[in-house]
């Protein structure tokens, strides 16, 4: 019996994980959750940006990471476009970034902000860290034209911004290497930086939060749900929290099963 528990077919685990997602999505229970301090910090900073500030938003995730990060970006943009008067420059160092930026802008449509005056989509710049360092140095050189092909000097939003030194904050949504922005934006120009990232890279980025190099951080889908609650716009991320609970229970249950069976059969092993 116990030996069987040690060698459960992986496919049974996979099916249970799927069920743990499907069932609560179909009939949600609404288990409450608390707000993490790092998400609160992102919200507080954005909420307190004075009118007329200029911020840059880096949309750097790929389709793979989108389910975790896209809801974060959407929650933040909803907050910015509907409750704040802040100028926003969208940039990207990921090939898939511009398409997600367009998708985000479509999804939050209905606001009164004007393209070119309140926000601008500068598009994609290749070269990864080199690209960040290049646009931080000079927006006009790095992005001579915006995503729509217009000369960026013709847009009123670009009038008083030349380089990263003119930014009041930068937010980056990425699943790869936020430290590049720490080096090139926060480190080089002292611009306050916050990131929305997928859960797995949170632990390696906590040192940057603790040392103050990042003023805040959003952790995966939960971070998105927290931001939705903070900005009083509960949406898709909030709805997924139950499924998150159940899948965690499945993983923990299998860890317990693995241990019980190992300890139960250990006697036999020692005999061998």
């Amino acid at each position: 019996m116990l030996t069987k528990l040690q060698n459960i077919d992986k496919r049974i685990i996979y099916i249970l994980v799927l069920l743990a997602i499907i069932i609560p999505l179909v009939s949600p229970m609404g288990i409450p959750f608390s707000i993490n301090a790092t998400t609160q910090a992102v919200f507080d900073k954005i909420d307190s940006l004075p009118d007329g500030s200029t911020i840059a938003i880096g949309i750097d995730y790929s389709p793979g990471a989108a389910p975790q990060i896209h809801p974060q970006a959407k929650a933040v943009l909803n907050h910015l476009f509907y409750s704040k008067n802040v100028k926003i420059l969208f940039t990207s160092i990921a090939t898939t970034g511009p398409m997600f930026t367009n998708q985000l802008l479509d999804e939050i449509a209905g606001h009164d902000k004007v393209y070119g005056t309140d926000y601008i989509h500068l598009g994609y710049l290749p070269g990864v860290e080199t690209a960040i360092s290049a646009f931080a140095k000079d927006f006009y050189k790095a992005f001579p034209v915006d995503e729509t092909g217009g000369n960026i000097a013709d847009f009123p939003i670009m009038k008083d911004v030349k380089s990263a030194a003119d930014l009041d904050a930068m937010l980056v949504f990425t699943a790869s290497e936020p430290s590049q922005y720490v080096r090139q934006i926060q480190g080089a120009y002292g611009v306050p930086l916050a990131v929305g990232i997928n859960s797995v890279i949170v632990s390696t980025n906590m040192p940057y939060v603790n040392s103050g190099q990042m003023f805040g951080l959003m952790n995966g889908l939960r971070g998105a749900a927290e931001y939705e609650v903070l900005s009083e716009r509960p949406s898709e991320a909030t709805a997924s929290m139950d499924a998150l609970s159940f899948t965690h229970m499945i993983v923990l249950a299998f860890i317990i099963i693995g241990n019980i069976s190992w300890f139960g059969t250990r006697k036999d092993k020692e005999g061998v």
């Binding site: 992986k10 496919r11 996979y14 994980v17 799927l18 997602i21 499907i22 999505l25 179909v26 793979g64 990471a65 989108a66 389910p67 975790q68 090939t95 994609y124 290749p126 860290e129 080199t130 001579p144 430290s179 590049q180 720490v182 080096r183 480190g187 997928n198 859960s199 797995v200 949170v202 632990s203 390696t204 040192p207 603790n210 040392s211 190099q213 952790n219 995966g220 889908l221 939960r222 898709e236 997924s240 499924a243 998150l244 899948t247 965690h248 993983v251």
Partner: protein
């Protein structure tokens, strides 16, 4: 109409990929190859756009003739197909390697060494700070490669280093569970809501 076709296509692709978890099968193989093809094609198009904006535009519009240098370097990459001239392809590579090493050196010292050391220079007046300082020290010393085996002090610190790394690896793994599950929630939501309209 096109939207519906798109959703069906996306749903079929999603199921094909997922079917790998059950077993490797022809359905998965077909979509694996489609995905590789599209991904590589997309990357090539992005590369073409880079050449447009960083090479052709500066040459044509700004008359920035220094851009001829990367043009030549880029073309030299292809000398590897010419017998006897393949060594020329090392020059563009040397530039790439130089840029990469330069960025590594200048970026790493500050943010991963000095900043981290500085962040750990904290007063030892509470248990958290003590754990931070001792834990960081022990972990760094775990990687000391030239220590003699007989060195007891090194043995103890490296053991503490191992334990504290185990805490970190467990935490990172546990924290990743949330992210990975979120991705599957995203896919299932797509199948149930956008495709089957159940939600």
């Amino acid at each position: 109409m096109l939207g519906t076709v798109g959703t069906w296509l996306a749903a079929i692709g999603t199921l094909a990929m997922m079917s790998f978890a059950w077993r490797e099968n022809p359905f998965y193989r077909a979509f694996e190859h489609i995905y590789i093809g599209i991904g590589a094609g997309h990357a090539t198009v992005m590369g073409w756009q880079n050449i447009q904006s960083n090479l052709i535009r500066p040459l044509q519009v700004d008359r920035h003739f220094l851009s001829l240098v990367p043009l030549v370097l880029g073309l030299l990459l292809y000398t590897r197909f010419i017998k006897g001239q393949a060594y020329l392809s090392r020059y563009p590579i040397a530039v790439l390697v130089g840029v990469g090493t330069g960025l590594t050196l200048r970026g790493t010292v500050g943010s991963q060494l000095v900043e981290q050391v500085k962040a750990t220079m904290i007063p030892l007046n509470n248990i958290n700070n003590i754990i931070l300082v001792l834990g960081t020290t022990a972990t760094v010393l775990f990687f000391y490669f030239t220590a003699k085996k007989s060195n007891k002090a090194m043995g103890v610190t490296s053991k503490i280093g191992r334990y504290i790394m185990m805490i970190a690896f467990g935490a990172t793994f546990g924290n990743a569970v949330m992210g990975r599950m979120s991705m599957m929630i995203g896919r299932v939501t797509f199948l149930l809501r956008d495709w089957l309209s159940i939600l």
